[in-house]
Amino acid sequence: MVNILLLSGGMDSTLIYYIEKNIDEYVFFNYGQKQLKQERNAIKKLNVKYKEIKINKLNYTKNGFIQGRNLTFLIELRELYIDKNIVVFIGSNKDDVFPDNNTKFMKKVESILNASYIKNIKIITPLSNTTKKTISKSLSQVENVSPYWCYSGTDTPCGICKSCKELKKIGEFKKWIQ
């Protein structure tokens, strides 16, 4: 069995990195995102050996939703570790609003993949009952950590994208850019 953590450089997966101690493999997806460089930099600061997997560019909708992202990641992981039972840790949190980023969705994908492939997959969302505010506060207690969450791809988070606005709304934006 292989325990895999899906890293994005964002707050959720970075916090899981510090919480979960039994991870065997760290994986990062390059799907043509604007913020690729910044996400890579955030992960490099963790000083962890990770695999970067390049896939075809994914489509964005106007509200920042990335079509097929989590489903594609999970199928890619299933096929990458085709002959192994795998446990995938994903950073979905209590405040996530996109329909493909909650425990119910993950359970359905788990069931579909287990019906489709011989080896098993288990998808774990350790932060599904944790709010973004709590995640941000917990992570800010770790030294020298600098997650990247902004959709704009600017080195300093833009403050106007959906992700920045959500952090502002919960009063957790300023402390990360100082």
């Binding site: 097929g68 329909p99 579909i112 993949l113």
Partner: protein, 189 residues
């Protein structure tokens, strides 16, 4: 390579057609419904036999190529059905996609049941905009009844291909042939 060719938001009705009993029945029963007839080439050993049936019937189909999927000795292809739906979803991105499948009441493979496809429909709709429906008109029909009905519509000289082993004739011994015998569809032709 297959192309989309439809405007955003437009309905695209696709029949997955294989040259077997179920999908041929759907083709004849609902012939004017479909915008696209798609044959999936997943490197199955009998793809030429399957295509010959469609060619003999002069059916105008397009081919979705899906190579590289791991196959077991018994012919089971890992991840085939979820990959097919995913590729179609990506190909017709932002379209209202309706996929017709020839799943029947006797299909037992875990990744080829109505319950499986309903979950797939759910996760596709939660992952992509545009909307997708997976329609299985034969889910309550047994194989024998489908065979009897198809026989009435199919030209007499044509035999659907339902065997796992390539060759001039269907072997009668493989898993698919044995299932065909068990459901009494084998002897219709």
């Amino acid at each position: 390579m297959m192309k989309d060719g439809h405007a955003e938001g437009e309905n695209v009705r696709v029949l997955l057609i294989s040259g077997g009993v179920d999908s041929l029945y759907l083709y004849y029963k609902y012939q004017n419904v479909f915008d696209k007839l798609i044959f999936v080439d997943y490197n199955q050993p009998v793809r030429e036999n399957e295509k010959k049936v469609l060619d003999d019937l002069q059916i105008d189909y397009e081919t979705l190529i899906l190579h590289g999927l791991p196959q077991e000795d018994n012919g089971y292809v890992w991840g085939r059905n979820i990959e097919i739906i995913l590729q179609l979803r990506k190909l017709f991105i932002n379209k209202r996609l309706v996929i017709y499948l020839g799943v029947n009441a006797e299909d037992m493979t875990r990744s080829n049941t109505p319950l499986f496809y309903r979950k797939v429909e759910d996760v596709m709709n939660e992952s992509y905009t545009g909307g997708i429906r997976i329609v299985m008109p034969l889910e309550n029909m047994n194989k024998h009844d489908i065979g009897i009905e198809l026989k009435k519509m199919l030209p007499k000289k044509i035999t659907p291909w339902s065997c796992d082993v390539p060759g001039e004739k269907q072997c009668g011994n493989c898993v698919s042939c044995k299932q065909g015998k068990a459901s009494e569809v084998f002897n219709i032709w």
